[in-house]
Symmetry: C2
Subunit: 306 residues, 2 copies
């Protein structure tokens, strides 16, 4: 029986595994732990890492909270739903080096007191400089975990990520995308047990997809100009999170714990007026990849990393 307690427990286990894996790769910093209570019921464990060898600022947040259903959710649930329960793991990692991509992952479960329930989640990668082989490797990891459950998942969830991780006012994607899915409900073809297994497996794909890329890139030297480009790309990340990200907006609307919601923001970010990269520069090349519908899986033949 898939209870909300069992889901929350498994999500917390995934949080632990991911923190351990990131600490080992970083080699210096360890995650701190802040336990907090939600103003209505429940709470979370926010784990933040700063000033490591590799990671400048990163957070792995677990939460399980209950509350009054916010007004803007009413059209998503049964008419007689009044309260919600939500649990999830949310990760954003901002490395020091512009050679190591920013990564984000989220898995979540939502239910109401009227019997509505669904899973959601996603992983997406934001390289400061796009490396085609690594982008292809990353998407192959996403495809692999999807294909274990349903051949339709990867194409659907990859397209969903392209649409979701999109900075409309810039007409560019946040990075090279990945997968995104929401409102995954049990139906004739899929039990809740299977959906739970899929979402947990997405959580466990995080380290498999990210650590090889970190490991391959973390010692590559970089220039001050490359660092400046990273700060600008982080500015775009801030724009996405504050303007479009649903988790952030949901947190702001439901008076969630603000430090846990905004731990996704980088330590340093930058904005220049009307900055346009030089013609045929590495920066311009990266921008050219920040669009929807790039078929990353078939882009590179060699997906061996490192």
């Amino acid at each position: 029986m898939i209870t909300k307690e069992r889901i929350a427990q498994e999500f917390q286990r995934i949080q632990q595994e991911i923190c351990s894996g990131l600490e080992a790769e970083d080699g210096k910093a360890v995650f701190n732990l802040d336990e907090w209570k939600h103003e209505v019921a429940g709470g979370g464990h926010t784990r933040v890492i700063t000033h490591g060898n590799v990671i400048e600022k990163g957070g792995v947040n677990f939460s399980a909270v209950e509350g009054l259903l916010p007004q803007f959710m009413k059209d998503k649930v049964s008419p007689d739903a009044t309260h919600f329960f939500a649990t999830g793991v949310s990760i954003v990692i901002h490395p020091y080096s512009p050679k190591v991509p920013i990564i984000h992952m989220n898995i979540r479960y939502f239910e109401t007191n009227a019997g509505d329930s669904w899973f959601g989640g996603g992983i997406d990668l934001t390289p400061i400089y796009v490396n085609v082989d690594q982008a292809s490797f990353f998407h192959q990891c996403m495809k692999d975990v999807c294909d274990k459950y349903d051949a339709s998942y990867y194409p659907k969830f990859k397209a969903w990520a392209d649409d979701y991780f999109f900075i409309r006012h810039r007409n560019e994607t946040r990075g090279i995308g990945g997968i995104f899915f929401d409102y995954l409900k049990p139906d004739a073809g899929r039990t809740k047990e299977e959906l739970f297994a899929f979402v947990s497996d997405v959580g466990r794909t995080f380290l498999k997809a990210y650590l090889p890329i970190v490991s391959a890139n973390k010692t590559i030297p970089f220039t001050p100009e490359e660092k400046n480009w990273q700060l600008l790309r982080r500015g775009r990340y801030v724009e996405f999170n504050l303007v479009y990200d649903r988790g952030t907006r949901f947190g702001l609307e439901t008076a969630g714990r603000i430090e846990s919601i905004l731990m996704s923001l980088p330590e340093h970010a930058s904005w220049l007026y009307n900055h346009i990269p030089d013609k045929e520069s590495a920066e311009e090349k990266t921008l050219s990849f920040l669009r929807k519908d790039v078929d990353w899986v078939t882009m590179a033949e060699d997906k061996t990393i490192g």
Copy 2:
């Protein structure tokens, strides 16, 4: 006769005066000029200053655009309105020194093809460290310009600024406020001519209120720790602008020129997880002032600056 052309022309003159005044105070950098066209009709003159003696990044934007009335404006206008005209001047100045406050000003005029029309605007100051005398001086300037037109303006528009320049998810104001007003329409007590004079006068109060503070503070030395505090406060500024600022949201929703809309963002900003200033530090003292309903005008007896 107050035509939209006359209003736009006067607003452009105010833009010019302000750019000249800021250049003289900065002593090094000059404003560049980007002329641009709106995708429907009209356009703007975006003037940006960077890397001066005092100003790290600042913008003074004039625009006069026409377009289809966006959906979210429909409840503000006559039922048969289909198109809008909007003109305004928007300013944000980010100085290098944490001793020199960030400032924002906006004056604007809006009309529809169904005969609706109103003025709006505001000026607010965001010191990185609150100086009570200077805060009091600044508010006295706001009160003076308001009192010339209507004794009810300052109390009303000061309270409106407290409510508007408020970062709800942080439960703190953006700075020490100032004045904010919107939907100022001609009525029995006030002609359009008078409202236009008031709004223009608000525009011309910008330099009178800001330059004495810049001049008094620009050569005060500061420490790296004070600079870091500035970067954090700028992070809050970014949060306000991307999450709450109506002008920014309006621009994003109506596909405005993105570089002009987001020129309000600082060159560098920073976020730390759960940063809490030391007890009885200057930073804690500043935070204690970032709340609504501070009676700044009567706070200091001496409002002489410099």
